[in-house]
């Protein structure tokens, strides 16, 4: 045996002894950063109420993360902040704060923490929170106030007490609502100018109106390799193709141009940020294309033939559920073989 003792300063670990620059918190905080322009645009347009809604959603997410989480640090990795911001951005700016808070708690609690926290959830937590709100408060979530007023004017019953009926419309706080482009199309067959959709000067959810800022944020993330660009590419291309087809055939109930389909609703935010959520989208690149195509078909079907004006949320949640299946069926082709591996039986782990 060696005569000299081993110095305790030497660290022994397994190779590789170098690590790339990316880390999970760094990815999460970069996503938060890239969301800020669209979020600030929403704040500027809809005023103090929208700030309150987003804050409440973030607080709800953070509360659930801390309450059900096993690690204190999980609050610092930035992932629940993303959920809070994304949830807030999909809500109408005049929504009562307590509802947004409940949505955040449900999204993180039932959408993420019961699966084991970051990385283990099946559904996008922000969309699950929104789905819950849609089911629980169908009126509040479809009341869209008109934007563009003074910043400090409340545009809704922001401070309504929990479980009270929000005091909207006649006799309550004076709220001027405005139909969204989606609603106009769905119920009145009236299109909105594409340019307005693109810039965001319409009514709608507080963070979804400016397509261009969301696109820019998403492109930045794609450039950093923090989102799989194949997913939005597949969604946009498929929606455009299907939309063109329907436009040429001409459906009386839904005279929407393909550009209208692309520019409205949560389409851009959903395709860029919700569908590309790393945890709930496929890991394989072929799977990413299939996932995007599936979302696009679902969303067009819901919008044109369904009873809702908006379909992005359900389309993504539905495809989230198929991700383990897609992953299993799109295993990469192993080096030196012709085709991918065939797996024999379904896996218990996802």
């Amino acid at each position: 045996m060696a005569s000299s003792p081993i110095e305790s300063r030497w660290i022994v670990t397994a190779p590789p002894h170098m690590a790339g620059p990316d880390s999970t918190p760094r990815i999460m905080w970069t996503v938060v950063l890239s969301l800020l322009p669209a979020l600030l645009f929403g704040f500027a347009r809809f005023g103090i109420s929208s700030v309150m809604v987003v804050l409440a959603a973030i607080l709800g997410c953070a509360a659930a993360e801390r309450m059900f989480g096993s690690r204190k640090q999980s609050l610092l990795d930035g992932s629940c902040l993303i959920t809070g911001i994304l949830l807030g951005m999909t809500l109408p700016p005049g929504m009562p704060m307590w509802m947004a808070f409940v949505g955040g708690v449900f999204g993180i609690g039932a959408g993420k923490m019961i699966f084991g926290g970051l990385g283990n959830n099946i559904f996008n937590p922000a969309l699950l929170g929104r789905a819950f709100l849609q089911a629980a408060f169908p009126v509040a979530i479809t009341t869209f106030p008109k934007g563009g007023g003074s910043f400090f004017t409340l545009v809704g019953d922001t401070f309504a007490l929990p479980l009270m009926r929000p005091n909207l419309g006649e006799g309550g706080i004076d709220v001027i609502t405005e139909a969204t482009p989606m609603g106009l199309m769905k119920f009145d067959q009236e299109p909105t100018a594409i340019w307005n959709l693109f810039l965001g000067s319409t009514s709608g959810s507080l963070g979804e109106t400016s397509a261009i800022l969301i696109l820019l944020g998403g492109l930045y993330l794609a450039w950093r390799n923090y989102l799989n660009w194949r997913i939005p590419l597949a969604i946009f291309t498929t929606v455009f193709a299907l939309g063109s087809l329907l436009w040429m055939i001409g459906i009386e109930a839904y005279p929407a141009s393909p550009m209208f389909l692309l520019g409205t609703g949560g389409m851009v935010l959903g395709a860029m940020y919700m569908a590309t959520d790393m945890v709930t989208s496929p890991v394989t690149n072929l799977g990413a294309y299939l996932f995007g195509i599936g979302i696009a078909i679902m969303v067009v079907v819901i919008r044109v033939w369904g009873g809702l004006s908006e379909g992005m949320m359900y389309a993504i949640l539905f495809m989230n559920a198929l991700v383990p299946f897609i992953n299993r069926k799109t295993q990469p082709r192993v080096f030196g073989t012709k085709r991918g591996l065939k797996t024999k039986k379904p896996e218990a782990t996802s």
Binding site: W10, P16, M18, D22, V283, P332, T337
Partner: protein, 453 residues
């Protein structure tokens, strides 16, 4: 200096990573010979295959270059005394792999001139093929690129094998290392002679030397001496090309190198031999040439001693069996904040804590990392970003394999997810943002399956 080599335009392998190269620490430094230490320790197992069998006993006097252990079989090589001295002990000693393995300790005679015994130097052109193979085995030559596979075994392909290409691996894709780089720059004739010997022995008509484009001086050095060999190559209808390759880790992995140079994928479960290709490291063929130049067996090798944790990064000619502490002393010692010693390249080399560990034939470099550069071990749950799938050069699914490994489902990993194709290159671990030790998990899973499968 104008670049004379042509950039190879063929698409390189897919996947892989490009870590900071950090080769500038030693790339320009000529190889220096270190003084003989007080003691050398020669492990009996420095190669893939059976350990060597000692033929000396304690108290014997040995001269530099003497045989001290004979090959333990065909897939094995003999060991030689790398310094003149007295056999002190035959015992179990720390090995770079982390285990204690049988080794011969030799107390070096401080007053010896370290001159080897007079010997006849065979002319390789006059040797028959079996004699040549025997000479290479007797020289103790193994692959010097890290795996340490006995070279004479590669010279003895199964009957009926037709070889089309002999590929020399001068990629040195691991960060920090400049061992092969310096050998190509300083000993281009040995590299080409060694290649010629192998081509003649195996009757291969085309020799390809693949060098990453970050070593233009090595490419130029080889191309400058190539004309000296033209006549002999022409006489036998042979050809040698020096080809610059994309700088990307793991370009030097056998399958990736073959793909880049021949545009062929080695079929899964097959060997390069089945494609008519044989790959050898540049340092190994240089040591073959050296055997027939000096008559001496493999007694020393070039080792890059580098990293920000060493005071004087150097390319050192180290006697086999010199201890880490002696090598460090020659390189000015380690810095105050040095925290990790890696034997080999930082992507695949194991780390070592015992400075009594000897340098063996397969050690390409020693990288000493200071406190600030030691990889963090903080781990997050997998966020399924899929970056590991993009980085994997053999296109397996490290994400799924990692989850399966953590659930100890080793058989499923093997049967459904091609664990065996993993070559533990470490690309997946390198890119993982959650810092999951994927390649470590796969190494452990493979070890489990070897033991229980």
């Amino acid at each position: 200096m104008a670049l004379k080599h042509h950039e190879y335009s063929s698409p390189h392998f897919l996947g892989g990573v490009h870590p900071p190269e950090s080769k500038e620490l030693t790339a320009h430094l000529p190889v220096r010979r270190m003084p003989f230490p007080d003691e050398v320790v020669i492990p009996l197992s420095q190669h893939i295959g059976a350990p060597a069998k000692p033929i000396v006993k304690v108290g014997d006097h040995v001269e530099r270059g003497d045989l001290i252990a004979e090959a333990g079989g065909f897939v094995s090589v003999p060991m030689h005394a790398s310094a003149t001295g007295t056999v002190k002990e035959i015992t179990r000693w720390p090995h770079p792999s982390g285990n204690l393995t049988p080794a011969i300790r030799i107390a070096v005679d401080k007053h010896s001139a370290q001159v080897p015994r007079a010997r006849t130097i065979p002319d390789w052109r006059g040797l028959s093929k079996p004699e040549l193979i025997q000479a290479v085995q007797d020289g103790g030559v193994v692959g010097l690129g890290g795996a340490a596979f006995p070279t004479h075994v590669k010279l003895s392909p199964p009957e009926g094998t037709v070889l089309e290409y002999l590929i020399l691996n001068g990629c040195e894709c691991e960060p920090y290392l400049t061992t092969d780089h310096r050998i190509m720059v300083e000993q281009p004739r040995r590299v080409l002679t060694g290649l010629l010997i192998m081509m003649r022995a195996l009757d291969v008509k085309v020799g390809l030397i693949g060098v990453e484009n970050n070593k233009p001086d090595a490419i130029v050095a080889l191309q400058e001496v190539l004309p000296e060999y033209e006549a002999e190559l022409k006489e036998h209808g042979m050809r040698i090309d020096v080809i610059g390759l994309t700088v990307r880790y793991p370009q030097g992995a056998e399958k990736m190198l073959i793909l880049a140079l021949t545009e062929r994928e080695v079929p899964r479960g097959k060997l390069p031999l089945d494609l008519g290709v044989l790959v050898q490291n540049v340092g190994s063929v240089a040591s073959i040439a050296e055997i027939f130049e000096t008559g001496l067996p493999l007694l020393e090798r070039v080792v890059t001693v580098t990293g920000h944790g060493i005071r004087k990064p150097s390319n050192v000619l180290v006697p086999i069996g010199a201890k880490l502490k002696d090598v460090f002393e020659f390189c000015g010692g380690v810095t105050m904040d040095a925290r990790q010693i890696v034997m080999g390249g930082p992507m695949m080399g194991p780390s070592q804590a015992n400075l009594e560990t000897p340098i063996i034939k397969g050690i390409t470099g020693i990288v000493v990392l200071p406190a600030g550069e030691v990889k963090s071990q903080e781990e997050y749950d997998c966020i399924r970003c899929g970056h590991c799938l993009d980085a994997c050069p053999v296109f397996i699914n490290p994400q799924r394999l990692g989850l399966l490994a953590k659930n100890m489902r080793y058989e499923t990993m093997q049967e459904d997810y091609a664990l065996n194709d993993c070559m533990l290159c470490g690309c997946c671990s390198y890119v993982c943002p959650s810092n999951i030790p994927l390649s470590q998990l796969f190494g452990a899973s493979k070890a489990y399956l070897r033991r229980n499968g």
